[in-house]
Structure formats: C-alpha cells, structure tokens
Subunit: 475 residues, 2 copies
C-alpha cells in the first residue's frame, strides 16, 4: 500500500473503500456528499478549539499533563519485588483502557511468563465483573501476601467496584492484618470527594487522582489507565507523546487533513445517508482485540443518545461491533459479505509485527498446503486482510483501514487520541452530548432498590411488581 507519509512512526487512515467510486453510490460516500459538509466541519473544529481554550474538553489536554507521570513511575518502581500479582478492580472506563494497554503492549502470554521474563514485574489481572464465581476463583489462585489491588472509581460508590473492593479488603485483612492494608491497596479516585477518598484517608492507602472533567471512557491517559500500565513496564511517556503527536495532526480545521474529523464525518455520513447503523472494528493484530473493546465503549456510550428534534424523538448512535482478523473470517465474514447492507468496517493493520516467524517448507507434493512453505506468517495475515477488504469492496461493502507502522506505545497513543477526538467530532455532528450517559441511571436505581439501599424502596417495588407479572416461559 503506497503512502506519502512524512513521519516514520505515524499512523494513517486509508478510506479509499468508503467512497462511492470504490463501492458504488448506494453504499459509499460521493465526493459531493463529503464536500458539502466541509464548512460545517470547519465550524465544529473552531467550536471545539474554543471550548478547549476555555477550559473544557479536558481529555484533550491529557497528553501534556505530566504532573502525575513522575508519581506513577515512582510508585511502579517502588513496588516490592515480592509482589507477584497486581489486580485492577474497576469496571467500564475504569478497566477497559487498562486491559487494552496491557493486551496491546505486553507479551501475549504475559501472566504465564516467569517473573524474571516479566522483568521482575507482577502478573496483571482485571476484575471488572461481579460474578461470585469469578471473584472467588481469582482470589483462590492468588497469594494475598504477594498481591496488590488497584481499586479505581471516581465517585467511590460504583456498586460493582466497591463490592469487589470490600471482598478483597477483607481477604487481605485476614492474611496481613488491617495495618498492612496500605501496602496491598492503591486507590485511584476523586481528589477529595466520595467514599473511596475517605477510606484512603482513614486507612492510609497510597492514591492517585481521577481528574475532574474527564469521563470514564476518556480516562485511559490519566492515572486510571497509566498506573497499571507503568506497573507492567509500559513506557507511559511514549504513550503520551503519541497522543500529543496526534493532537498536532488533529489541529487542521479542514477535515480532509484531520484524520479524527474525517473519520467522524465519514462514519456519520455512512450512518445517516447510507444507513450503516453498525460499525465493525476488526484489527488484523491479535494484540489489538481489546482496543476494539475499548472503542466499543467509547463509540456506544458517547453517541447512543435519545434527544428531541422539533418535538420528535431522535435516537442516535451506530452500534460498534468488536471483531478480529483473521479469526473472524471464519465466523463473521459470511454475514459481512452477504448479509444486510448495514455495516461499515474498520480494519486495523500493522506494517511490522512485533515478532515474525516463517512457515516451514514441508510436504512439497501436497499443493493445497505446499504454497505456504517459505512464506512468513505476517505475509499470510496481511494477504488475508487485503483479500477481505477487496472482496468486501467488490460486494459494495464500505471498509477502511487504519495502518500502524509498528505496535508500540507511541503508535497506540496516536490511535487512542485519534479515536477520542473523533468521538468529540461525531458528537457534534449528531448534535448530542458525547460526554454523558443518562440512560444507565434507571437501571442503577432499580439495582440499588433490590439491594436494599435506603431511599430506593420504591424502585424495589417496581422490580417486584414486574417480576410478579405472569411470565411467558418455555418449555
């Protein structure tokens, strides 16, 4: 794939096959459709810059907030060598970024390596659910004397996180005593408010701050995501540098020169003009499978909104779908090729994989496999990516690719920041607030009611009335 790329380590977007001249006018964007939106996009760009200059859009300044980097690195260095497990307790935006950084930048079988092969660093775990079987089983597998928990919640009353925290804390106390808790727990929470901050002060845990004005799904470049990354040895300065470099790329008011703005616009137009209600992200990089999961929260929770327009209810938001190449060619490609024309696909490709291996020559008389011999495995996965893209385009299925020259903190930082800015642009295009999540409140109230929280009794009644209806069941 030829590319006039000035900076050697810069990622780029190839959107050739999103356009009508590649996939036809019914399913691709015409030049005229794109051009018509350029003035509006410039207006959005100016508006976002103004908001940022006035102290809003705090996530955009995270690449430059170095004040906590030194503290985080100091904490990571000071972790005693006998600590063999580091367990993040968080959920949603307080876990997905951590998981994504770990999967992308650490050894694919990291937890199975010896501590020496891990550079003396602990194994990493991410407890982001409240399944009693999983919580119990995980603790069974760990030695409390050699385990540190990083509990992450800005508000300090996220039910799932605090439930797991209370369980982990009691489990630690039984083994090490209350006074030693502060050597086994590190908290990431609001600087002054909330229950977790109070507990930190009462029990003297080390702690980091979730800054104000940065929502959970935009928080990976704060201590929320950076602490566990640094503990596992990831170069968080390079990660922030990548984000800062992408910030420079996203300064262009002309969307044709701004990858975040352009990708937002193309996806918005594909949704609203061509009915592509589903956005599939399909990295052909095994390590980026959880990047797709992180994107899935960012895109869904930011853009899935109900608003009113001229008194009419409007429900926005593409449904993001996580897929993985080449694996899902044997699972989802049939649907993407022949199913409804309701999808746009984003491939993520890698020029140079972190490790390479060659397929050995063998069985020369078996023509159905002999051709593989002598080729590298990256040739195979790249051929599969290109082949899927072409087959889809020939079937009028719009798809684009983001290409990383290599996978490292610098390129991943660019990718993260690009998608965060793209989400801000998309929010403006849909004319919704991409930074709230009002739709989850009702469910939380019912759950508080069911769990007997004071003041939530009427929600419990609602759930019980609903359960008491005649149920339709089979068999």
């Amino acid at each position: 794939m030829a590319k006039a790329n000035d900076t050697k380590n810069r990622i780029w977007l190839d959107y050739t096959d999103l356009m009508a001249d590649a996939v036809g006018p019914a399913h691709g964007i015409s030049q005229a459709e794109l051009d018509a939106e350029i003035p509006r996009m410039q207006g959005i760009s100016w508006r976002l810059k103004k908001e940022r200059a006035e102290g809003g859009l705090a996530f955009m300044n995270l690449p430059y907030q170095k004040e906590w980097v030194r503290e985080i690195e100091k904490y990571a260095r000071s972790l005693p060598g006998n600590i063999e497990n580091f367990v993040v307790i968080g959920i949603g935006g307080s876990a997905l970024g951590n998981i994504m950084l770990h999967s992308a930048l650490n050894h694919p079988e990291y937890n199975l390596l010896s501590q020496e092969a891990r550079g003396g660093r602990p194994r990493m775990f991410f407890l982001d659910n409240v399944d009693p079987d999983w919580t119990t089983s995980l603790l069974e597998a760990l030695n409390p004397r050699r385990t540190v928990f990083n509990v992450i919640t800005k508000s300090g009353d996220t039910a799932e996180t605090m439930a797991n925290f209370l369980i982990a804390r009691a489990w630690l106390m039984r083994a090490v005593g209350k006074n030693a808790l502060c050597r086994h727990i590190v908290a990431t929470t609001d600087k002054s408010k909330g229950h977790l901050r109070k507990i930190v002060e009462a029990e003297n845990y080390p702690s980091f701050i979730v800054p104000d004005g940065v929502g959970g799904r935009f928080s990976v470049l704060t201590p929320v995501g950076l602490l566990s990354a640094a503990v596992s040895g990831i170069n968080i300065r390079r990660l922030l540098q990548g984000a800062a470099d992408m910030d420079m790329c996203c300064q262009a008011d002309d969307p044709r020169k701004n990858p975040a703005a352009l990708n937002a616009l193309l996806h918005y137009l594909l949704d609203t003009l061509k009915d592509k209600k589903i956005s599939v992200m399909m990295p052909y990089v095994h390590r980026l499978r959880d990047f797709a999961d992180w994107y899935r929260q960012l895109w869904a929770e930011s853009l899935g909104k109900e608003t009113a327009l001229d008194g009419r209810r409007v429900n926005t938001g593409q449904t993001p779908v996580k897929a993985l190449g080449a694996t899902d060619q044997h699972s989802q490609l049939q649907l993407y090729m022949e199913g409804p024309f309701d999808k746009v696909l984003t491939f993520i490709g890698l020029d140079k994989y972190p490790k390479e291996t060659r397929i050995p020559r063998a069985f020369p008389d078996m023509e159905g496999i002999a051709y593989l011999g002598g080729r590298s495995l990256s040739e195979l996965i790249k051929a599969e990516q290109q082949s899927s893209a072409l087959a889809l385009a020939k079937n009028e299925r719009p798809n684009c690719a983001i290409v990383l020259p290599a996978l490292n903190p610098h390129t991943l930082g660019q990718l993260i920041y690009m998608y965060e800015v793209q989400t801000a642009f998309a929010g403006a295009l849909y004319n919704i607030n991409p930074f709230d999540q009002p739709g989850v409140e009702q469910g939380k109230k019912y759950a508080c009611g069911m769990m007997g929280r004071k003041g939530y009794e009427k929600y419990k009644d609602d759930v019980e009335q609903s359960s008491a209806r005649t149920r339709r069941t089979v068999p």
Copy 2:
C-alpha cells in the same frame, strides 16, 4: 432415544418482554403476530423431522453418537502426566466450541492453577489466529517436550490452521525429533480425505474423525469440541445427555412448546416485522462470555445470506453481538437504552452460581456503600440483570432471558443444542440454507493468489490492481 427429561436441571426461556403487552406494539410481538405463524412453524417442524429421518441434519443426532466418546476418554486418560500443555490449533468452528466449553466448565483461572489443582491435567491453549507475534510468543512460553497439539481441520487445507501446524511441527521436531511427533500431535480431520489425513497416516499420529454432514459451526459435539474438553476433565457424557434432553424438548411441533422453534420465530419476527437487525447476547455469567462468541458464529454465518426473491436481491441475517453482564452495563447499556430501536437482547442468567461469596459489612456510616454489606455477590449480579431487563422493557426495548438452574455440562449441553436447532428453524423461516457459507470463498481465492498458490495467479492480479489504485489517505 433418550431417557425422560431431568426436569429439575432443565433450562428455560422467559420471553415475557419480547411481547407487545410488555414493550408496546411498535417493538414487541403481538399475540396475533405470533399465532399467525403457528401453521408455518408446524410445517417447518415436520419438514425438519422428515429431513432428519432421511439421514440429513446430521448435527441433530450427535447427542447419540457414542462411538467416539469411549475413544476420546481413552485418549484423555492415556495422556502422559508430564504433558503440561494442550494446544488446540483450529479456527472458526474448529476453535470457538472448544474455547466455549473450556471457559464455561473449567476453573476461571485454570491455566494459573498448579497441575495438581488442575487434577493433573494440562493447561489449555487455543491458537486460532495467524498473527506471527502471537504464534511466536505462545511457543516461547511452552516447553515442546511437555506439549501436545490438537490440530483440527476437516478439509486439511485451512490456510491458518495448516500454517500454524507446520510451524508447531517444525518446532517440535527440533526438540523431540521426527519419530516422536506422534506423541505430541493428535489430529481431528476427515476420515479419509485431505492433506491432514495423509500426514496423519505418513507420520502415524493418533487421530479423530470430523464426521460428514456436520458443518464447522455445528461440530462442537463431535471430536472437534469433545477431545479438548475431555482432556481438561469435562464430563462429555453429561454434555451429550444435556443435548439429548433438549432434543426431547424440541420434538414438539407446536412452537409454543418448543423453545428452539419459539426463540427462532420470535427473533425472526422481531427482525422482519419490527426491524430488530441486531441480536445482542448478554450473559450475566462471566463463564459464558465465550458462549456468546460461539453463538455469534452460529447465528451470523448460518443466517447472513444473499438470495433472490422474484428476481430481487435479498440480504438476510441479524447481526449477533456479544456482550457481558454486569460489565457492559458500564459500556453498552447507554446505547441499548437510548440508541436506535434496532436491537433485541438475550440475557443468560444463572439460578445458582458455581461459587458464592458474601460482601463483608464495613463502613456503616457510608450509606452509598454500606447497603452492600452482608449481601451475597450473586444477589448483586442478579439484581443488576433484573434491573437492566426492567429498565430496557420500560424503554420499549425487547429482551428475553434464558435461565440455567446451574452451570454444568448437562445445562450447557441443553443450551448448545437448543441454539443449534433454533438456527435450523431460523434458516427455514428466512428461506435460506443455514448450512453453507459461499460468501467467504472470494476472499480465500484472493489470499491464495497473494500467497502464490498455483492456479490462483489471476486473483493475485486482482489484488495488485486494486492496491495500485490511487489511495485516499490522511494525514
């Protein structure tokens, strides 16, 4: 065929909130809409029974094919105690079922347990991609002398599987020599045809058969899925018994008494009458996250089809989406609550979790967390499932639940079989063939061309011409 149903351990479907009386007529199915399809469904049921009686639909008879169970158990028992790693090499239907059984029925941190805690059984790995970094990294972490590979491909020329097989074989040869390969490789492939069968004969590997007439995505109850399950200690007889018991449930020609038929019909009607193009499966059971992935292949590849009706192109198939409760309440629920009305959700709930734990009482003065103290963690996750379901229903979002009394091979066998039969019913409703996947052939041809396979030169030319187009890129 099988003994009477063990009703105590039976799974069931609760579809209350798929109906118009719960979520309104715009987004739910009315009784009249359901009743109108009953004669058609009875006809489909008769037709499927006839086809099965005539030797078709081979997957339906798998619960009774005990001839390979004894062989599999014998192999599993005979695995030497010094084997510490069992690596499945397969992709799509030759991996997703294996992964699903392992996640669902083995300890959540199985590979981290000591071999003793694993009952002397090996660690389990599933190499289902061709990322050079992952393949290389996985082999780095394993000792070849203590590793067995189960290579699975019916045709024997699946490029991804054979590439990884050739790499693993060479890696083994360097460590143990060619003559010992047969102690480190076990193949699952066609009984007589294909390259892998020839290699098995030439190199004398133990082997199992992928039976004829069973497609990859319906093959989990053949040696494809059962061998790795048995090696890790799963009771495959109980799994098959569960499937057989569900077969009895699915004999009813009246869809109102047949969970597979009814769930197929409800999803078909929600798609075609109410525009629910997306089917979200969201287990509130951490161990069932990969069941959702297995379902994702089954539903997508079976129903995502292009056909012609009266000369008009028709593109069928709901897009299956994998989600996980309670985790994705903090990622996807906002979109499910407020986004487009294009989804139907299936929760999977558990009456009794495999392990239980209690949230300790602590911090009685902090009312935002104190209410959790003394409650069990399963109360919390169940309250969250009920709360999400109710909040969604009140927002006119159709959702249903499959309830498992417990999670064990018997209930999982029922769930697997129900979804397989449901897929056959759905194929008939959409009037497509749910057992083929013609849409993936074009991409495979391009990839063979790119990799230099003889006879595929013209496909290589196509890809190169496509790459040579002027690309649109940014920045």
